[in-house]
């Protein structure tokens, strides 16, 4: 029982080669497509039959829209709403991928750091490009907080610059490590059930405990799956706020 085995990437079929590197359609890509298809179906299904009194599917779409737009508006202001498509896509995609990964035997796309680093760098580069495009050199003002005594200002500026460059690291590692650790824990407790179950009828009685633990942990992981998608979205909003309002 290797708890790492569930994160294996398998080539389903090869698409072609670019400069000696094999470009393959993997199980990771398959689950990403499933997530996109699910979100697409939800959103298209919700908007084809628009009613004044929303039905079930339309309610889900409206609640998720309201949820993300409230988060964005409260952290980055009304000007932040032009980034709503980015934040909403990130939130819905990570949420769908995390929840699909909880289904037994399913693959969790966000448990690979390459995926989360791509998201975090996308946000990081968006902040830098938009910050300089909108504010010009005033963007550097976001590293210099106002109202700080002059003799500790260099130190504070150093910390601000350092934390700015560490932010894509912590942004990506948080999501990746949470999903990785949660799924390893589930697998380890699942392994306890098998080990105890192999030990005869007394083991069967004992195996009830880790089985119950697995059920409870699955509930916790469902919370974590939602919470990490929300945390990723709210941190994206906070980082974007630096590019939109660099003054403070």
């Amino acid at each position: 029982m290797d708890p790492i085995h569930q994160f294996q990437i398998d080539n389903l079929f090869t698409l072609g080669r670019i400069g000696g590197v094999e470009i393959a359609f993997t199980n990771s890509a398959l689950y990403m497509l499933i997530a996109v298809a699910l979100i697409g179906l939800l959103m298209i299904g919700a908007t084809t039959s628009r009613a004044l009194i929303p039905g079930r599917i339309q309610s889900v779409a409206e609640i998720s829209y309201e949820f993300v737009s409230n988060t964005l508006r409260s952290t980055a202001g009304t000007e932040g709403m032009k980034f709503f498509p980015l934040v909403f896509s990130l939130f819905m995609f990570i949420l769908a991928v995390n929840v699909i990964g909880l289904i037994p035997y399913a693959f969790t796309v966000t448990s690979h750091i390459i995926i989360t680093v791509s998201f975090a760098l996308l946000v990081f580069l968006t902040v830098i490009v938009y910050g300089f495009w909108k504010n010009g050199l005033h963007f550097f003002k976001s590293f210099v907080p106002s109202g700080i005594p002059i003799y500790i200002l260099p130190f504070v500026v150093f910390i601000e610059v350092f934390s700015f460059f560490v932010q894509p690291v912590s942004h990506s590692v948080r999501l990746f490590a949470n999903m990785l650790a949660g799924h390893i824990t589930l697998k380890v407790f699942g392994g306890f059930v098998v080990l105890l179950g192999a030990a005869g009828w007394l083991g069967w009685l004992g195996a009830v405990l880790p089985l119950g633990m697995t059920v409870a942990l699955t509930a916790l992981e469902l919370l974590v799956a939602f919470l990490q998608a929300y945390v990723f979205a709210i941190l994206t909003c906070i980082y974007l706020n630096r590019a939109i309002h660099p003054g403070h």
Binding site: I4, T71, S74, T75, S170, V173, R174, A177, N178, L180, A181, I184, L227, Y230, V231, I234, L235, I238
Partner: protein
Amino acid sequence: MDPQAAKYIGAGIACIGMGGAGVGVGTIFGYYLAAALRNPSAAQGQFGNLIFGFAVTEALGIFSLLIALLLMFT
């Protein structure tokens, strides 16, 4: 010392760091709850700040967990 044994000891030591994150997350939620019970009407508005503080604190614990996982499985 056997390198494999040293790896496992290192992974165990790395996990101590998660205790600090546990203290931090507990402090954040405890103070949020205390403040929310004093002034329940203002609690909703601070939910974003709560999650942000939780995320930033939790990241540090996750880093030490990551070191432990790297030592265990690579």
